[in-house]
């Protein structure tokens, strides 16, 4: 602690330090023995208090010095009549700094630009981080909100309505639990014009659990959420504005949705984005499914959010829910076998897996800033060395080291503040643009506004302070050590002295090279990983496919009607000339949705409930495998009779190998449960990667849709020519069958593939940009240093040339100097890059973080850039006219 306090003492006026320094150090030693300051937290508090005290005293006492007391040295004699304060001197220094910076416009522009790049990159990434991690959930006390879900074989999914009702009743560690279902489509009339809107049905506590207060009217009450209640609806702010022109009289207004009357009871703010960007919410009980699935415990149709009571931890809540689920499973054997329950923070759901990526980005831009600061330090140092004479003169005239240091710090402060302003502007301009280009880069529901909130301002202020100190401190320390002040005595100026400064500058360049190597290596690994991922076949042919989703409102379509609708749709589409085949599927590959079920396998004998085999279930129509070009390995695909007169299932190779390794799968039988008949396997098809190229193929079981129709299906059309040109045709045919039905999520399969790689591609692009900036700054640093040393050795080079040295020799000499620094930097950077690559291991696909080829290539690239920079300065060196250079001295 006393060692640290010596630094604080340095801030204080010389006489106070001289008279009381030892006593103050002793007092600090006594203080640090106080039991209150023995813990780490205590030490930090003491450290902070001492620093603050030192800074405030320094400010005050120096102000007092300036007001009178001992006579000031001539350099500090105030030009102000009467009382001058410290601020007056700071103002003087500021004006001097601005004058100097204006005179050296080239240096100033370069330094501001460099710092602007570094600070801008940091502000941009911090802005995203701030939006995503620091203020992600616009709800009351968001840390108490958890997602609850039933678990089954290591997978967690939604929960069933009866189970949620039991959770609500028994879980006393929760203030409230709410379940909701967001796949609801409504035909809305009664607004400005009839339209299709999306809504969620939710249990009565939905808004209370989230802590969302209505903008107008009220939200649900328990008596709204009973089957016989009058139908009510809560509108989103967005729908209220768009469809009802923000009508102030909206509450109490009657609407017709899906042909039924609803009364608007309230409007909720647009910030509510759970589950997604819903247009409206209705009570779950008044919006039935048209079948009995709300009564079935194994129908996991609800997403569930709970609010923990204050002081209850996530682990306690999870234990309770899991215990309740275990009790329920024991009470409902058969139905709930192998099902448990778990909980995780809502924040994880919203923020998802972007957190490590953002951390990585922040580390990357931190390095960029470091390189930028090192560069500016380097430039300032070069100037400090060339200004040695000025400094010596000022010292000789009585300027104290504090005064000189203050000038230097104020100068670097001006640069840093300008860089900060430039950087913030740059970031506020680039971030919305980059995000608009990559809508999938962030979790849904997160909006990034680079608002200058307190966190952002503090961050920018911190960056500016760091840059000021970073770029100003080294020159200040050199000034203080008087290593720069020799030349007044020897008078020879540039040609001699400065050896120490040269060493510092060389050291800085080595650090820069090493840092750029680390970033470039990371970027190169990610780029390769992405290229390899993009090359992987997802298991189906992606080109020429048009995909879309159709959600049938279950209130109007029962199971038979659903089957009839999709039959008709397939028939109409199949008759069109430019459509080769028509497929239907419940969950499209790369759509990010799945459903997993367990089943019995004939011949496997009795298996405990939680060890029954399971697979991803897909309900498909005839022609699906043909449309996606998923190869048929053995047996047959589905035809029109499957699910009607014949029954059979299809497995993929992945599942076949797991269930019947080395055996023929065709003819084997499976069933859903003891209550359902055995169904034979009639075909084996190729593997598909359901989650995208970055994930392993999934084990999939295909069922014919006529056996088990679903209200929401994807249509897949294999087309001739550009898929998008068939979109209008598809919409028209759907409209012909049911004019009220929207066609959702229309995309070509190639767009889906690109979308599934959007986030990794975005990360890679960002990191590559940072790496490019780093390398550019690094090259600038090398060039600057070499050019400066060439300038320092002008006379020497002139003499060499005059004495007959060849230009080639001089060039080689200069290049060798640059090469030496580069090699040192590479030697330092390679181990650092190896260590840093571990951090991105989880982001890498099919490439080792220590891939030697990548590292070698990166080191070579850095070497080449450095070499080019040295060569440029070498060329300038040999352009030296011996006579001119000799004359200048």
């Amino acid at each position: 602690m006393t060692g640290f306090y010596r630094l604080v003492l340095w801030l204080l006026p010389g006489d106070l330090r001289r008279d009381f320094g030892p006593e103050m150090l002793q007092t600090v030693a006594l203080l640090s023995r106080d039991p209150r300051y023995q813990t780490i937290g205590g030490r930090l508090r003491l450290l902070a208090a001492l620093t603050r005290d030192g800074l405030i005293s320094a400010w005050r006492t120096r102000g007092a010095d300036a007001r009178g007391g001992r006579p000031l040295p001539p350099s500090q004699q105030p030009p102000f009549p009467g009382k001058a304060t410290l601020m007056d001197f700071v103002w003087l220094d500021l004006r001097a700094a601005l004058r100097t910076l204006r005179k050296n416009a080239g240096f100033t522009a370069l330094a501001v630009l460099t710092l602007g790049l570094g600070i801008g990159a940091n502000v941009a990434v911090f802005g995203v981080l701030n939006a995503v991690l620091l203020r992600p959930l616009p709800y009351d006390d968001p840390d108490q909100l958890v997602v609850l879900a039933e678990t089954f074989r290591g997978n967690s999914a939604n929960a069933s309505y009866p189970n949620v009702a039991d959770w609500q009743e028994r879980a006393d560690l929760f203030e409230g639990i709410t379940g909701f279902d967001d796949r609801k489509v409504f035909n809305l009339t009664g607004g400005d014009m009839p339209q299709q809107v999306y809504g969620a049905s939710a249990t009565a506590g939905f808004f209370d659990v989230l802590g969302v207060a209505p903008l107008r009217g009220r939200t649900f009450r328990p008596d709204d959420d009973v089957p016989e209640a009058a139908k009510v609806v809560v509108l989103s702010e967005r729908l209220w504005r768009d469809a009802f022109g923000a009508d102030e009289q909206i509450v109490g207004r009657d609407l017709r949705m899906n042909g039924e009357p609803y009364t608007v009871i309230g409007v909720v703010p647009a910030s509510l984005r759970i589950p997604n960007r819903e247009d409206l919410w209705v009570p779950l009980a008044t919006h039935p499914y048209g079948d009995d699935r709300l009564q079935v415990r194994s129908e996991t149709i609800l997403e569930v959010i709970g609010r923990l009571k204050p002081g209850v931890t996530l682990a306690q809540g999870r234990d309770q829910i899991s215990a309740i689920a275990a009790a329920l499973a024991a009470n409902h054997p058969g139905e709930l076998d192998g099902r448990g329950a778990t909980a995780w923070p809502l924040r994880d759901d919203v923020v998802g897996n972007i957190e490590p990526v953002l951390d990585l980005m922040l580390a990357a831009v931190g390095i960029v800033l470091l390189i930028a600061v090192v560069n500016v330090t380097n430039m300032s140092l070069a100037r400090a060395v060339t200004r040695r004479r000025e400094v010596s003169l000022r010292m000789a005239l009585g300027a104290g080291p504090w005064r000189l240091a203050r000038g230097q710090l104020i100068e670097s402060g001006v640069l840093a503040v300008s860089g900060g302003v430039l950087g913030a502007t740059f970031a506020s301009w680039i971030v919305p643009w980059v995000l608009a280009m990559n809508p999938d880069a962030l979790p849904t529901g997160i909006t990034v506004e680079l608002a200058p909130d307190a966190a952002m301002l503090a961050f920018v202020a911190g960056l500016v302070t760091l840059s000021t100190l970073g770029a100003g401190l080294v020159p200040v320390m050199l000034t203080r050590s008087r290593r720069l002040t020799g030349p007044l005595q020897d008078g020879s100026g540039a040609a001699s002295g400065g050896a120490f400064a040269t060493r510092v500058r060389n050291g800085l360049v080595v650090v820069e090279v090493a840092l750029s190597l680390v970033l470039l290596a990371g970027a190169a690994l990610l780029v390769q990983s992405l290229t390899r991922a993009a090359r992987i076949e997802p298991g189906f042919a992606t080109e020429g496919l048009l995909t879309a989703r159709i959600d049938l409102p279950v209130t109007e379509y029962d199971a038979d009607a659903q089957r009839r609708f999709f039959d008709q749709l397939r028939e109409r589409l199949g008759g069109l000339p430019r459509i080769q085949s028509v497929g239907l599927v419940s969950r499209l590959p790369l759509s990010g949705a799945t459903s997993i079920s367990a089943f019995d396998v004939d011949g496997m004998g009795e298996v405990p409930a939680d060890e029954r085999p399971a697979a991803h279930i897909r309900t498909v129509g005839p022609g699906y495998f043909e449309a996606l070009s998923i190869p048929l390995v053995r047996g047959r695909t589905f035809d029109e009779n499957d699910g009607v007169s014949t029954f059979g299932v299809i497995v993929d190779e992945e599942l076949a190998e797991q269930l019947w390794p080395g055996e023929e799968a065709i003819g084997k039988q499976i069933r859903e449960s003891a209550a359902t008949p055995w169904v034979p396997v009639v075909g084996v098809v190729g593997r598909t990667r359901h989650w995208g190229q970055l994930f392993a193929p999934t084990q999939t079981l295909y069922l014919p849709y006529k056996m088990l129709p679903e209200a929401s299906m994807h249509v897949v059309l294999r087309t001739e020519g550009e898929p998008a040109t068939l979109t209008p045709t598809l919409r028209e045919i759907v409209r012909e069958i049911d004019p009220a039905l929207p066609v959702n999520d229309v995309q070509s399969m190639e767009e889906r593939v690109a979308g599934s790689l959007a986030r990794p591609r975005f990360n890679t692009a960002l990191l590559s940009v940072f790496a490019a900036v780093a390398v550019a700054l690094g090259a600038l640093g090398i060039y600057g240093t070499i050019a400066w040393s060439v300038a320092q050795r002008r006379r020497e080079i002139g003499v060499r040339l005059a004495l007959g040295a060849r230009q080639g020799d001089v060039r080689r000499m200069v290049v060798a100097q640059g090469l030496r620094l580069t090699l040192l930097g590479v030697a330092l950077g390679v181990p650092a890059a190896l260590a840093a690559a571990r951090l991105i291991e989880s982001q890498l696909f099919q490439i080792e973080p220590t891939d030697p080829a990548t590292l070698a290539a990166v080191a070579t690239a850095i070497g080449a850039v450095a070499l080019a920079a040295s060569w440029l300065s070498a060329r300038q060196a040999t352009r030296v006219d011996p006579l001119t250079s000799l004359r200048t001295e």
Binding site: F20, E23, Q26, L31, L50, D53, G54, S57, R60
Partner: protein
Amino acid sequence: MNKTNDDAERFLPLRANWFHILVSLADSDRHGYGIMQEVEERTAGGVHLWPATLYGSIKKMLEEKLIAEAGSPQDAAGDDPRRRYYTISNLGLEVLRCETHRLETLVAGARAKPAVGHGERTP
């Protein structure tokens, strides 16, 4: 008004830190760390004079002759020789009295208002 009083008036209103230091030295000579501890105890942790502030004030108060260096007391024989003791001067005592009187007048004026009264501070 006599001369001492005039001299003392010059320091009013007294800086809070100086006031605390003078109070601390009013009954006994102390070293810097002792002053720091006494002030903290007396104000129940409300005021903490950290070293730079404390010694900055001590330096000024020595210059203004409000306090003076004292010889080490008898029982401090084993003390570190760097440790200096400070004592309050006659001027310092006078300044302390004047400031205390001034504060009393201020406080009495405020207390006379029913809204302020003698009640506890509302939390």
